[in-house]
């Protein structure tokens, strides 16, 4: 935190300009452009090996940038040492200093920055209270539980009052209950530090949906889509994002565009009317329906799809029904918990046309047709 950058600069807090990374002959990140505003909570999601950590580590300065530029707070930091970037990072493996007490772990960065001892203590105590680790200050990391270690790791980042907070899958070593609790705490942390920009890497889409102001979906080192969580959920830009966001994943059925604008013809000749601008007839397309957008056709509306129930998973508040369709393929419908069709029963499903997603032959979402 030597030479703190001037945060009053107009423009984005972080600016990635055509950032590339290759390990030898292996290209891992292919030209990422991304601007992140001050105070934003941005989540990088994507399947394993897509380059999330690599991108985060380049922002931290722990990995060299092969090409392109990284700007933080209006400064070009592409070649700046990590120690001088004014950032804090929470690692998946906690990475506490094993030979230092919790207190010294929290204060190490401040000590390096030559913060006066009384101010150091104030900040350590404030962070410790915030994370409820104030009773543990004299312990060594090896005498802490996993959840406590993770709090110390977060606390170590907080005490330094950084401009930019980086998290690399901070919750993945915690058990399910603790993960939920810590997730809520991170959300609260973000609220209490409105000026601090946060970048959070995860492959857990619940974490992404609940924490993010904006989600960046990555695949093989490329950005697939950037947007607010509900934007990605409601308007996925392509098949990959459609399948990645939402659980259970969106049902995808192969189709062809029909003669009328918005119509799709399924494999068995069934015609489905959607809101999408399908263009000319006879082109390959995909129909996407989220499991939660299905309801049981009750006779007042014509059914969209029908088939035979293959498997029923009752989760309590909802029931997941796997239906083997007459047109071929299987879909999952998320129905109210009170609905419990028997196995082998016939079931007709309907969905509102506005809830149908249509993807063209290039796998991109087709825009809604103008009426």
């Amino acid at each position: 935190m030597t030479a703190p950058p001037t945060p009053q600069m107009p423009g984005p807090m972080i600016d990635l300009r055509a950032v590339r990374k290759s390990f030898g002959a292996l290209d891992v990140v292919h030209g990422i452009d991304l601007a992140i505003n001050k105070g934003e909570f941005v989540v990088f999601v994507g399947p394993s090996g897509c380059g999330k950590s690599t991108l985060l580590r380049m922002i931290a300065g722990l990995e060299d940038v092969s090409d392109g530029e990284i700007w933080i707070g209006g400064r070009d930091v592409t070649d700046l040492d990590p120690s001088r970037r004014g950032i804090a990072m929470v690692f998946q493996s906690y990475a506490l200093y094993p030979h230092m007490s919790v207190k010294d772990n929290l204060g190490f960065g401040l000590k390096l920055a030559r913060t006066p001892a009384d101010e150091r203590d104030t900040r350590i105590n404030r962070a410790a209270r915030m994370l409820q680790i104030d009773g543990l200050l004299d312990r060594l990391p090896r005498a802490l539980s996993g959840g406590q270690r993770q709090r110390v790791a977060i606390g170590r980042a907080i005490t330094r009052d950084p401009l930019l907070f980086l998290f690399d899958e901070p919750l993945s070593n915690l058990d399910a209950a603790l993960r939920v609790a810590t997730r809520v705490e991170i959300a609260r942390l973000h609220e209490s530090l409105p000026d601090t920009t946060m970048i959070y890497v995860t492959h857990d889409q619940t974490e992404a949906m609940t924490l993010a102001d904006r989600i960046v979906v990555l695949r093989s080192g490329r950005i697939e889509q950037i947007g607010a969580p509900m934007d990605l959920y409601e308007r996925p830009a392509n098949l990959f994002v459609a399948g990645f966001i939402g659980s259970p994943a969106m049902n995808i059925l192969p189709a062809r565009t029909g003669p009328e604008q918005g119509s799709l013809v399924l494999a068995d000749g069934t015609t489905v009317i959607t809101d999408a601008a399908t263009g000319g007839p006879g082109q390959d397309a995909s129909l996407g329906i989220r499991p939660e957008d299905f309801h049981v056709a009750d006779g007042t509306v014509p059914p969209l799809l029908s088939g035979r129930v293959e498997l029923v998973e009752r989760l309590g508040e909802v029931t997941l029904v796997h239906v083997g369709l007459d047109v071929g393929g299987t879909v999952i419908a998320k129905l109210p918990g009170t609905v419990a069709p028997g196995r082998g029963e016939r079931l007709a499903l309907a969905a509102r046309p506005g809830k149908l997603h249509v993807f063209g032959s290039d796998q991109r979402a087709l825009p809604p047709a103008r009426r």
Binding site: M1, A88, A113
Partner: protein, 281 residues
């Protein structure tokens, strides 16, 4: 239900422990007791090991009267040994860190080359070493001896330190870098405490090797005033008038043992200390 220790097992455990301790302590006690024998008795066959015709410190006085005086030779030994330890630790920490964490061309080849020097018998390079040292003006000097000792110690020490650094998770270092530490600060404030057991092992080995080394000291030190303790003791052994002075040899041996024993008592616990527990995961 608390398990009561089986009395037979417990006592045989202690019996074995006591027997082994005695076996290891006996030679030390023997040397010490023999050093207290008067000159006439010291020349007799060595049984019983304890003095029978009275206790004396004359052997220690004889030892001190030899050459430039005992303290002068002891300080030669100490200078050589401590310099060897310090240099070995500094170089092997830096080299081990480099081999563990940095990428550079021919890293593997260099490492193998350093390690393979362990296989060269020291005696076979005495002549070239002698020539090199006299060219450099370091023959018959303690500094030259230190350089030889450090060189001999380094392959093992670098190997040891590289493994010690390898065992520290890289994230700890990265966390420190992000926390604002420069490379050197990371090494000194974060990494060194974590590899302390390795450093102590390297230091102990360097200490023992340099403190006890005889052949190189005998060959490269021609000036009697510069003798280190092992060479001094051999000189003492031949006695002043041609007869062998066993008593003084035992006195020398006893004195030489003291630092080694102290060192082990102080540092033995670090051998088994695993500091990294709890850092990651």
């Amino acid at each position: 239900m608390a398990r009561r220790p089986n009395p037979v097992a417990a006592s045989s455990y202690h019996l074995a422990g006591i027997t082994l301790s005695l076996a290891f302590l006996a030679p030390l006690a023997w040397a010490f007791l023999s050093s207290l024998k008067p000159a006439a008795e010291a020349r007799q066959p060595p049984l019983p090991p304890w003095p029978t015709t009275g206790v004396t410190v004359e052997n220690y006085i004889t030892l001190d009267g030899y050459g430039a005086g005992f303290w002068s030779h002891a300080s030669n030994s100490l200078i050589v040994t401590l310099s060897t330890v310090v240099l070995t630790v500094i170089i092997s920490v830096l080299a081990g860190y480099g081999f563990s964490r940095f990428r550079f061309p021919f890293k593997g080849v260099f490492f193998i080359m350093i390690l393979s020097t362990i296989m060269i018998p020291f005696q076979s390079i005495l002549t070239p070493l002698f020539l090199i040292l006299s060219k450099a003006g370091l023959q018959n000097s303690l500094a030259g001896l230190v350089m030889i000792y450090v060189t001999l110690q380094l392959p093992f020490s670098i190997f040891m330190m590289r493994n010690a650094f390898d065992a520290v998770p890289i994230e700890i270092e990265e966390a420190a870098r992000v926390d604002g530490a420069s490379v050197l600060t990371v090494l000194i404030r974060v990494m060194m405490p974590l590899v302390a057991p390795g450093i102590i092992t390297v230091a102990i080995f360097a200490f023992l090797a340099a403190w006890n080394e005889f052949l190189a000291a005998l060959i490269f030190l021609t000036d009697q005033d510069k003798y280190t303790l092992p060479v001094l003791i051999v000189a003492v052994r031949s006695g002043r008038y041609g007869s062998i002075d066993w008593g003084s040899v035992q006195a020398g041996v006893t004195v030489m043992m003291i630092p080694c024993v102290i060192l082990f008592l102080l540092l033995q616990r670090y051998y088994v200390r695993g500091l990294t527990a709890g850092a990651v995961k």
